[in-house]
């Protein structure tokens, strides 16, 4: 038997941690800008903010390579930022501008940037899971050195396609990481009304893959868990399930009238804000000035991005030739 290659280091360096911190702050500022823009009536349709959950998307993508594919949900802003997408073009997309990543066609839930391995938010609950599983299949069959990671919510974890994806991935040892972002709610319904078991990582056992529960508000813990699972996937040992426990601090979306999240829960989780937790560690290691400089710069980046994006032009409509059902109808276009 050939020995397994040594595990890569799975703790972030202090510089990596600082960069993840910056990305969390960028994400938070982005959410705040969106909240303000929504109030000002500048946005269209509901927007799903991830305030309080930034450590999951940012920590997970921090542990991946650029070539790795990530799929996310309707609440994917931290993943977009974590995957290295530019705030300016994200905001432009969310505001329906020509300069957005997808020219205003996608909106905030469907942003994709394949060159970044950002293979889409997805507004069909659960659909991010088989999507990443299929991307892992292509890597395995083509012999490419990349893995896939799906982020999905505790609501999505109850869908049939979640279980079916896990079964197939474990059966074929596909290089995929299932990252369950447990924020206690699926839309307005608490997790306790969605599943008879409170701990969802135990479902991994039923598929013969490792499962663990982690503190989803600790960006380093998320990085470490995903790095372990990613290494396992790269070795060809198959999928893992990580249940990252976190909490949704804002409503389901900007159209949520709220009222169903308790004040105690909100206060308890606010005290465990992922940015506050991360800042404390970094200030200890690097000093307050350095960390605050990074935070200030992050906020400025987003404010400038929001201003620039708002000044961008709306897209001009062009028919989608490949969708046209009539032969020859698109000639000359």
């Amino acid at each position: 038997m050939t020995p397994k290659p040594a595990l890569p280091h799975n703790s972030p360096s202090i510089d990596e941690h600082l960069e993840m911190h910056r990305r969390m702050v960028v994400t938070r500022e982005l959410e705040r800008q969106l909240g303000a823009l929504h109030k000002a009536g500048v946005t269209r349709g509901p927007i799903h903010r991830c305030d309080g959950q930034e450590a999951v998307g940012v920590g997970a993508t921090g542990a991946l390579e650029d070539r790795d594919c990530v799929t996310t949900t309707h609440r994917g802003h931290a993943v977009y930022i974590g995957k290295g997408l530019a705030p300016r073009r994200i905001l432009a997309e969310i505001l329906g501008r020509e300069t957005g990543y997808n020219g205003g066609r996608a909106g905030h839930m469907l942003i994709g940037s394949p060159v970044h391995g950002m293979m889409g938010g997805n507004a069909i609950v659960g659909a991010s899971i088989p999507a990443a599983t299929g991307m892992a299949l292509s890597a395995q069959v083509l012999g490419e050195d990349r893995i896939a990671l799906a982020t999905f919510g505790d609501g999505a974890a109850q869908t049939g396609i979640c279980h079916e994806s896990m079964n197939i991935a474990a059966l074929w040892k596909l290089p995929v990481v299932f990252l369950l972002e447990h924020n206690e709610y699926g839309l307005t319904a608490h997790a306790s009304t969605q599943s008879s078991v409170a701990d969802l990582y135990i479902r991994a056992a039923g598929h013969g893959m490792p499962g663990e529960q982690i503190d989803g508000n600790d960006v380093v813990a998320v990085f470490q868990a995903v790095a372990r699972a990613a290494a396992r996937a790269r070795r060809g040992d198959g999928p893992s399930l990580i249940e990252a426990r976190t909490y949704r601090m804002e409503g389901f979306s900007t159209s949520d009238v709220g009222g169903y999240q308790s004040d105690e829960d909100l206060a308890r989780w606010r005290a465990r804000d992922p940015i506050t937790l991360s800042r404390a560690v970094l200030v200890e290691a690097l000093g307050e000035d350095r960390v605050m400089d990074v935070e200030r710069a992050a906020a400025e980046t987003v404010a400038a991005a929001a201003e620039a994006a708002q000044a961008d032009p709306p897209p001009h409509f062009v028919p989608h030739a490949p969708s046209d059902p009539r032969a020859f109808a698109t000639e000359g276009r």
Binding site: R44, G45, G104, M109, G160, A189, D324, P325
Partner: protein, 323 residues
């Protein structure tokens, strides 16, 4: 007579049906404690307890359970939050519900209802703005209704719940807050009967769901040019009120068929073919078809408005038919 919002009228129908018949059971995502994301089931959990249930996000299973529970005595009303999620229910409809009502004949009935809502124009993006009317209207054994007015919302939902066969109720997200009078004694509206929303003599605008509202606006505009347009609100998409269509076309001799689903193989195509088969000799001009462009619905306003038909598009189609 009370002025009601469309959503309130649906709520009234559910409340009445659940009061009258203890076998009526309501389930779906966020329908119980929250009262539905469009507020249609507000207050029903409080009134009917466990007969109103929140479910996990499991559309495929929920639809299959609605089918089988209805075979065994329950009258389930399942809410599928967006019509865009209806494809997840299709096996239950096309391979289960459609089949058993035929092969087992009179030994079973399938009195379930699926309520869903479609339509675009609010910037909800490609996965939350479609009208997939033809997906369900295509299936033998199903009935499909699409109320436009609050009174019809109540009446058609009552009729749907009482019907011994599967009924799909297609609501529209942009109608929930519209208000109109609903008679205090508004009872079931018979399935399969169209409604003349406006009398006219020059051209028939035959429309479904919220496109009726756009057709009425188009009729206003046409009236300014001295053209009298009749607006026919089909109300039931299947079974189709062929007689009402033929009656209108025989009178006006010009027809525009309008539906918010995609055009190719879409519901409007069925209407056009129906006119060809039953009223060809009455026509003075080819039927004009108005539907959503054959492409995904884009997010940005400048793009979305170019894809979903409105009064302008309908007016232009009517003028082409009359040219």
């Amino acid at each position: 007579m009370a002025i009601m919002r469309y959503a309130e009228a649906l709520n009234a129908a559910l409340r009445e049906a659940m009061t009258a018949d203890p076998s009526v059971f309501l389930f779906g995502e966020d329908v119980a404690d929250y009262g539905g994301v469009f507020k249609v089931s507000r207050g029903l959990r409080e009134a009917f307890g466990d007969r109103v249930r929140d479910t996990p996000i499991s559309e495929q299973t929920l639809a299959a359970m609605a089918v089988s529970a209805s075979m065994t005595g329950l009258r389930p009303v399942l809410e599928i939050m967006y019509a865009d999620f209806m494809p997840l229910t299709l096996d239950a409809l096309v391979n289960q519900a459609s089949v058993y009502g035929y092969v087992w004949g009179d030994e079973i009935t399938l009195p379930f209802v699926i309520r869903t809502q479609g339509g675009g124009g609010l910037g909800t993006g490609a996965q939350h703005a479609k009208s997939l009317d033809s997906f369900v209207a295509h299936i033998p054994g199903l009935k499909v209704v699409a109320p436009v007015t609050p009174a019809d919302a109540k009446g058609l939902l009552l009729a749907a719940i009482q019907d011994p066969h599967p009924v799909i109720v297609l609501e529209h997200k942009r109608l929930y807050n519209t208000r109109a009078e609903v008679p205090d004694d508004q009872g079931p509206v018979p399935l399969g009967r169209a409604r003349v929303a406006r009398d006219g003599s020059d051209v028939s605008l035959i429309a479904t769901s919220r496109m009726v509202v756009e057709a009425e606006a188009a009729a206003d505009r046409l009236a300014e040019s001295g053209i009298s347009a009749e607006v026919l609100d089909l109300r039931t998409l299947r079974p189709l009120d062929v007689e009402a269509i033929v009656r209108s076309v025989a009178k006006t001799r010009h027809a525009v068929v309008i539906n918010e689903d995609w055009g190719f193989c879409g519901y409007a195509a069925e209407l056009s073919a129906t006119i060809m088969e039953h009223a060809f000799d009455d026509l003075d001009a080819p039927v004009e078809r108005v539907a959503t462009r054959d492409m995904p619905i884009p997010f940005a306003e400048s793009l979305e408005t170019a894809v979903i038909p409105d009064a302008d598009v309908i007016t232009a189609a009517a003028l082409r038919a009359l040219a």
